[in-house]
C-alpha cells in the first residue's frame, strides 16, 4: 500500500509517495533526496552519525520511520550554512580540528546545534561531554569537538549579549 507524506526539508516542502512503510528518515534523506551529508553509521541508534533536527530537536534519523513523521520540519547538515557562509558551529569545528576522517562530523555538528538550543550545557566542558555523549567519534577527535562547541557557544553568548545591549 502506498502512503503519501509531506515534509519540510531545509526550508523546502517535499512530497513523497512511500511504497514501503519501512523507510526511515535517514534512508529517505539519503536515497530519495540524495542528501548524503546525514551519515548511516550503526543504523541502530548507537553512534549519532545520523543526527538531524526534527521540529527543532535533535534525534537519530535511523530510528525514525518517515511515514510517522508526516508534516515534520527537518533540518540536515546541508541546510545549516547560509550560501557560502558557514554556520558558526561548522566554522568552529574547522578552527579547532574537531574531526579527523569526518564521517561523524555532520552528526556531531547537528547534535551541537541541537544541544545549544536546548541550553542545558552552557560553557561547562563536562556538561558538553555529557550532552554530546550520543555522538561517537572513532578517530577520537573529542578534545577538538569539545573545544569547537565551547567556542561556538561563546560566540552565541556574545552575539546574544550584543543583541540585548
Amino acid at each position: 500500500m502506498n502512503h503519501s507524506i509531506s515534509l519540510t526539508v531545509n526550508g523546502a516542502r517535499r512530497d513523497f509517495v512511500l511504497d514501503d512503510a519501512r523507510v526511515t528518515l535517514l534512508d529517505l534523506l539519503r536515497e530519495r533526496l540524495h542528501l548524503t551529508g546525514t551519515k548511516k553509521g550503526c543504523d541502530r541508534g548507537q553512534c549519532g552519525a545520523c543526527t538531524i533536527l526534527v521540529d527543532g530537536k535533535r534525534i537519530n534519523s535511523c530510528l525514525a520511520l518517515a511515514i510517522s513523521h508526516d508534516g515534520a520540519d527537518i533540518l540536515t547538515i546541508e541546510g545549516v550554512a547560509r550560501g557560502d557562509q558557514l554556520h558558526p558551529v561548522q566554522a568552529a569545528f574547522i578552527a579547532h580540528d574537531g574531526f579527523q576522517c569526518g564521517f561523524c562530523t555532520p552528526g556531531q555538528i547537528m547534535s551541537a546545534i541541537g544541544m545549544m538550543s536546548e541550553a542545558q550545557a552552557g560553557n561547562d566542558p563536562e556538561r558538553i561531554r555529557e550532552c554530546m555523549s550520543g555522538n561517537l567519534c572513532r578517530c577520537g577527535a573529542y578534545a577538538g569537538i569539545v573545544d569547537a562547541v565551547l567556542d561556538a557557544q561563546a560566540g552565541m553568548d556574545e552575539s546574544n549579549q550584543r543583541r540585548s545591549a
Binding site: 512503510a21 530537536k57 535533535r58 534525534i59 508526516d70 547534535s111 561547562d124 556538561r127 550520543g134
Partner: protein
C-alpha cells in the same frame, strides 16, 4: 526488516481496536521497537502509530496535588519541565541519566515503560531465548551474564528491565492509566512488569490492544522532593544502561525518617521496590548504620544468576550511597553527570565499605 502494515488511528478507541489484532504492536517514537525490528527480534505484522493522537502529550498538575504525565510526553520534555523536576527530582535525574540526548528527545514515557530487555541473547536471533522464542532455552544462563539479574529471576530467564525512569517512579507509587478493549483502568506501576517464572515471554500485565495513555504520581510523591536521589553505576559514565541503580527518597521530620522509599534498577526483570528496607527505616534517624541495615534487607533475597555476584555487593553499596545522598538533601541543580556516583559529593555522608 519484515514488511508490516502501517495504521494511523484518529482516536484512542480506534487505536485499541487496531492493536487488538494478532501480530499488531503500537508504534510511538520507535527508538527501541525499530532497533528490534531491524534485528529481526520483533517481527510485527502491523504497526499502530499512536504519535498523532491528540491529548497524550501533556503534563498536568492535578487538583489533588498529584501529576499526570501523558504517555507521549518525551523523556527530555519531562526531565526539563522545571516544575516537574523540582517536585520529583529523582525522576528527572533518572531520565537524564538514560540513553543519549537524541534518544531522550524522541523516546516517550509510555515507550520507556515498555522497552524490552537489553539481554544480548534476546537480541541475538542465533541464540536461544525463552523470551523471544517460547521454550527454546536460555543461552544467558551459561553465557556472558555479568550484568544479568540477581533478584526475581528464574531458570528460564535472567534478563533485567533496563529502564532508569521506572526506578524512582515505582518508588513513588506511580500509577499507570490503560485504555483497553473494555475501557479505562489503572494499575500500580509495580504491577505492570512481571517476573519471568515459567513464562518469561509474558513481560507485562497488558492484554492485546491495551494502550498506556498516562502515568500518574499520587499527591504523596511530592513530599519527598527535599530528599531524593537516583544513582546509577554504568560501565561508562554516560550513554549506558545501569549495571545497578537505586532511587532513594526520604521524608525527614524532627531528625528522624518519617517515611522512606527505595527501589533498585538493573537487578531484576522489573523495577525492584525494596519494601522491607523502607519499613526498617521508618522512625529511625538517618544514619549510615541504618542505611547499611536497610541495604542488607533490600538484597536479602538476592542470588547470583551467573558471573554477577558482584552486583549484590555493588547494589548494597549503591543503596547506602543513594540513601546517604538523599538524607544530605536534594542538590539545588541536577549534577553535571546525572546519577553518576563519581560526581562530587559535597556535604554527603560517605558510605563505608
Amino acid at each position: 526488516m519484515k514488511q508490516f502494515d502501517y495504521v494511523r488511528p484518529a482516536t484512542v478507541a480506534e487505536a485499541v481496536a487496531a492493536a487488538a489484532q494478532p501480530g499488531a504492536v503500537y508504534l510511538a517514537a520507535g527508538t527501541n521497537l525499530l532497533d528490534l525490528m531491524k534485528g529481526g527480534v520483533s517481527r510485527p505484522d502491523r504497526l499502530v502509530d499512536v504519535t498523532h493522537l491528540d491529548g497524550l502529550d501533556q503534563i498536568e498538575r492535578l487538583a489533588d496535588g498529584g501529576v499526570r504525565i501523558g504517555a507521549l510526553v518525551s523523556n527530555a520534555d519531562l526531565a526539563h519541565d522545571a516544575d516537574f523536576a523540582k517536585a520529583y527530582p529523582a525522576v528527572a535525574e533518572a531520565l537524564l541519566s538514560g540513553a543519549s540526548a537524541q534518544l531522550r528527545n524522541a523516546a516517550t514515557v509510555g515507550g520507556n515503560l515498555l522497552q524490552r530487555t537489553r539481554c544480548a541473547y534476546f537480541y541475538d536471533t542465533a541464540s536461544r531465548c525463552n523470551k523471544r522464542e517460547v521454550g527454546s532455552g536460555c543461552d544467558a544462563r551459561d553465557g556472558e551474564n555479568r550484568t544479568h539479574a540477581v533478584l526475581g529471576w528464574s531458570e528460564n530467564c535472567i534478563a533485567t528491565h533496563p529502564s532508569d525512569f521506572c526506578v524512582p517512579l515505582v518508588a513513588l507509587d506511580a500509577i499507570v492509566e490503560i485504555e483497553g478493549r473494555s475501557g479505562r483502568r489503572e494499575i500500580a506501576l509495580d504491577d505492570l512488569h512481571r517476573l519471568p517464572g515459567d513464562t518469561p515471554e509474558r513481560e507485562s500485565a497488558l492484554e492485546p490492544g491495551d494502550l498506556i495513555v498516562a502515568v500518574r504520581l499520587p499527591p504523596a510523591a511530592r513530599g519527598f522532593a527535599a530528599h531524593a536521589r537516583y544513582l546509577k553505576v554504568r560501565d561508562r559514565t554516560s550513554y549506558a544502561f545501569a549495571v545497578v541503580s537505586a532511587a532513594a527518597a526520604l521524608r525527614i521530620e524532627n531528625g528522624k525518617i518519617a517515611e522512606a522509599r527505595l527501589a533498585l534498577g538493573g537487578v531484576a526483570a522489573k523495577p525492584w521496590r525494596a519494601r522491607a528496607a523502607e519499613d526498617m527505616l521508618r522512625d529511625v534517624p538517618p544514619t549510615v548504620d541504618a542505611f547499611q541495615e536497610a541495604a542488607s534487607r533490600a538484597l536479602a533475597d538476592a542470588k547470583p544468576s551467573g558471573d554477577n555476584a558482584f552486583k549484590i555487593e555493588l547494589a548494597r553499596r549503591i543503596v547506602v550511597r543513594a540513601l546517604s545522598l538523599a538524607a544530605a538533601g536534594t542538590p539545588v541543580r541536577i549534577p553535571a553527570l546525572p546519577a553518576s556516583p563519581f560526581a562530587s559529593m559535597s556535604g554527603a555522608i560517605h558510605a563505608r565499605a
